[in-house]
């Protein structure tokens, strides 16, 4: 804790508000244990608002746990998800198979955890590509304006009009088998990620472009210009830091959307091919045996539900935290 006399670290509430002429005199404390008001920044305020949101914090914890489980699946004491247990097919939970098995005797718990990987990979990596493209193109169009802006905006309009899901569906249906062979079994995950990444960026580009346009007119950018800051530095130091909070919100919603689309593709039989586990195909295969063992589809469906809804709530919480206007 710094002392009150160090004005660079702490900022007493009365500073600036008090009458002039009080000078170096330390402000009198109102209450003995009122504490010092810490200096704060926009991002620290946002973090505080976010942490006060219980639903969003819970979602974050759940997501970290799910992602950690998927990443560390190889080190967890799990049965090989591709191994058939011919004596336990469509079985209910037992000591050997904690969540039971599916119709080919795969351990359901292990299949669910390994099956998270394709969905998370497409969601997160695809969203990273989308975000880089969207932010890059958006800032360039908004900052430089003119012909470049017109060109990039028309291009964005075109890509925006492409039906993402249909394109991904068609691409995977046509090229999936070849890519699988080329990459050794998981090629279509790369393919799906590429398609989503390349087609998903237009909303983000429009958003970042609009933000950049408004920042460009503001005084802090004008001030940076007037002291001779280079354009590149204005973009990286002054404009981008102001967009990242709102971009993060959009990206969080986007991950949920990509996972939705990826699991839909695997539901249609276009996702990771058996025997490799995949959440979407676990749900749909389980649903076909629902009269034999209802848990087979309900467990993976529940995990998928938690995953997608957690991303949605996290995005909601982030938006309320970053954009103070929507908060109450």
């Amino acid at each position: 804790m710094a002392t009150n006399n160090d004005p660079t670290v702490t900022m007493p509430l009365s500073e600036g508000a008090g009458p002039a002429g009080r000078g170096g005199e330390p402000a009198p404390r109102l209450a003995p244990d009122a504490g010092e008001i810490q200096p704060t920044s926009l991002s620290r305020e946002a973090a505080r608002r976010f942490m006060a949101n219980r639903l969003a914090m819970a979602s974050l914890v759940v997501l970290i746990a799910i992602i950690a489980a998927a990443l560390l699946a190889n080190f967890l004491p799990l049965i090989d998800p591709t191994k058939n247990d011919p004596f336990n097919q469509d079985s209910f939970p037992s000591r050997l198979h904690l969540l039971g098995t599916d119709s080919s005797g795969h351990d359901l718990l292990s299949a669910i955890i390994f099956g998270l990987r394709p969905a998370l990979a497409v969601g997160i990596i695809g969203q990273v590509v989308t975000t880089l493209l969207g932010v890059g193109i958006g800032v360039a169009a908004g900052f430089y304006g003119g012909k470049l802006d017109a060109l990039l905006s028309r291009f964005t309009d075109f890509v925006f009009a492409l039906p993402t899901f249909l394109l991904a569906f068609l691409t995977v249906a046509v090229l999936g088998p070849d890519w699988d062979q080329f990459f050794g079994g998981t090629g279509r995950i790369v393919l799906i990620t590429i398609v989503f990444g390349l087609v998903g960026w237009p909303p983000l580009m429009r958003f970042v472009r609009a933000l950049t346009l408004s920042f460009k007119e503001q005084q802090f950018v004008e001030a940076a210009h007037s002291v001779g800051t280079s354009r590149l530095k204005i973009i990286t130091r002054h404009i981008l830091p102001n967009t990242w909070g709102l971009v993060l919100v959009q990206a969080t919603f986007g991950i949920g959307g990509f996972i939705y689309n990826e699991t839909t593709l695997s539901l249609l039989g276009l996702g990771v091919q058996p025997p490799n586990p995949d959440l979407g195909s676990l749900v749909s295969n389980g649903a076909q045996h629902i009269d034999v063992n209802w848990m087979e589809s309900v467990f993976p469906a529940a995990v998928l539900a938690v995953l997608v809804v957690a991303f949605a709530f996290l995005g909601d919480g982030l938006r309320d935290a970053v954009d103070a206007r929507t908060g109450e």
Binding site: L55, D157, F158, F160, A161, L162, P163, F165, L166, L167, F169, L170, T171, A173, V174, L175, P177, D178, G256, Y260, N261, T263, T264, L267, L268, G269, L270, G280, V283, S284, G286, A287, I290, D291, W294, S297, V298, A301, A302, L304, A305, V308, V309, F311, A312, F313, D316, E328
Partner: protein
């Protein structure tokens, strides 16, 4: 005048986008493995002379761009080629069988979603920050919106297909018997509507909240109008305009949803036909049905844009 220019420009842009989408789909499908000629000939594929004749007949010896132009030209004249699997059946006939089913299902889902989502959204805005009407109800709507329908489907089957078997509430888990036979469409249409209801409710809530905070509402209240009149006459009318802006996303949502619902409930709609055709390498069908669905999305987006601009004079041209 500026408005007319805008509409014409937007429609021309739409045509170019449609051509672009057609090109992307066309060339993608041409990359597909498999030989459509051999597929069509079946056991006669060994006959070289017949093979070359058919190869020429299908126009495959032409340069790719020429094939594309021919395809678009024929498509504009109502000829989308014929199926390779059920030889000789025109693709237009196949689409003609599937499209009405998809449209009926989509319309049913939209109506159900409107009936559920819009009132809940209004209620949440009017009772802003109340536990049941706003927080809980909108939490559920958020979950419904973000959940893929196939997560809900196992639960529906479990309850209505298995647990309630032999009761009045039992519902068949697959099949389609037209709009006149509700027992087949109730379950799929409700699952389909769930996500859309979430979208409608959440959008309606935010549009309504925005309106209710405006000055003219305070004015209406100040002059002593009944609260019901303020909300349902003054505020609600003004939410209709922003509500039109979610028409585009709605169509995109319906297209993705159709793939899930038709596949899971074995409904012979156009999305199901698309999936089946990729499984049997019947790419002329895949190409045509994808184009129809894509065109629906593109046209809906364009119409949303135009409608919005025409109705709202504040949109800058």
């Amino acid at each position: 005048m500026a408005l007319l220019f805008f509409i014409v420009r937007r429609l021309i842009a739409m045509l170019f986008i449609l051509l672009g989408v057609a090109a992307v789909t066309f060339f993608l499908v041409r990359l597909a493995p498999g030989d459509p000629v051999a597929q069509q000939l079946g056991q006669h594929a060994g006959d070289v002379a017949t093979y070359h004749r058919l190869y020429h007949q299908m126009g495959l010896d032409q340069p790719l761009w020429h094939q594309y132009v021919t395809y678009v030209w024929n498509a504009l004249h109502g000829d989308l080629g014929s199926s390779v699997v059920s030889v000789g059946t025109p693709v237009t006939t196949i689409i003609g069988q599937g499209l009405p089913v998809t449209l009926e299902l989509g319309a049913l889902a939209t109506v159900i979603a409107l009936l559920v989502g819009v009132p809940l959204g209004i209620l949440a805005a009017v009772r802003h920050n109340r536990l049941v009407a706003d927080n809980l109800s909108m939490g559920v709507m958020m979950a419904l919106y973000s959940l893929p329908p196939f997560v809900i489907i196992p639960a529906v089957w479990l309850i209505f297909g298995i647990l309630l078997k032999n009761t009045f509430f039992h519902l068949p888990v697959s099949g389609w018997d037209g709009i006149g036979d509700p027992q087949y469409w109730i379950a799929p249409a409700c699952v389909f509507a769930a996500g859309l209801a979430g979208l409608f409710a959440r959008s309606m809530r935010s549009f309504m909240l925005e309106e209710l905070n405006k000055d003219y509402i305070r004015m209406a209240r100040a002059k002593g109008l009944a609260e019901r009149r303020v909300i349902y006459l003054h505020a609600l009318k003004n939410t209709l305009l922003p509500f039109a802006s979610i028409l585009g996303p709605t169509i995109a949502f319906l297209v993705v949803g159709a793939f899930i619902i038709e596949n899971e409930f074995s409904i012979p709609g156009i999305a199901n036909i698309t999936v089946q055709s990729t499984l049997s390498d019947d790419y002329s069908v895949t190409l045509a049905t994808t184009l129809v669905l894509a065109a629906a999305v593109v046209v809906a987006n364009a119409l949303t844009d135009i409608f919005y601009t025409v109705v709202d004079p504040r949109v800058k041209l």
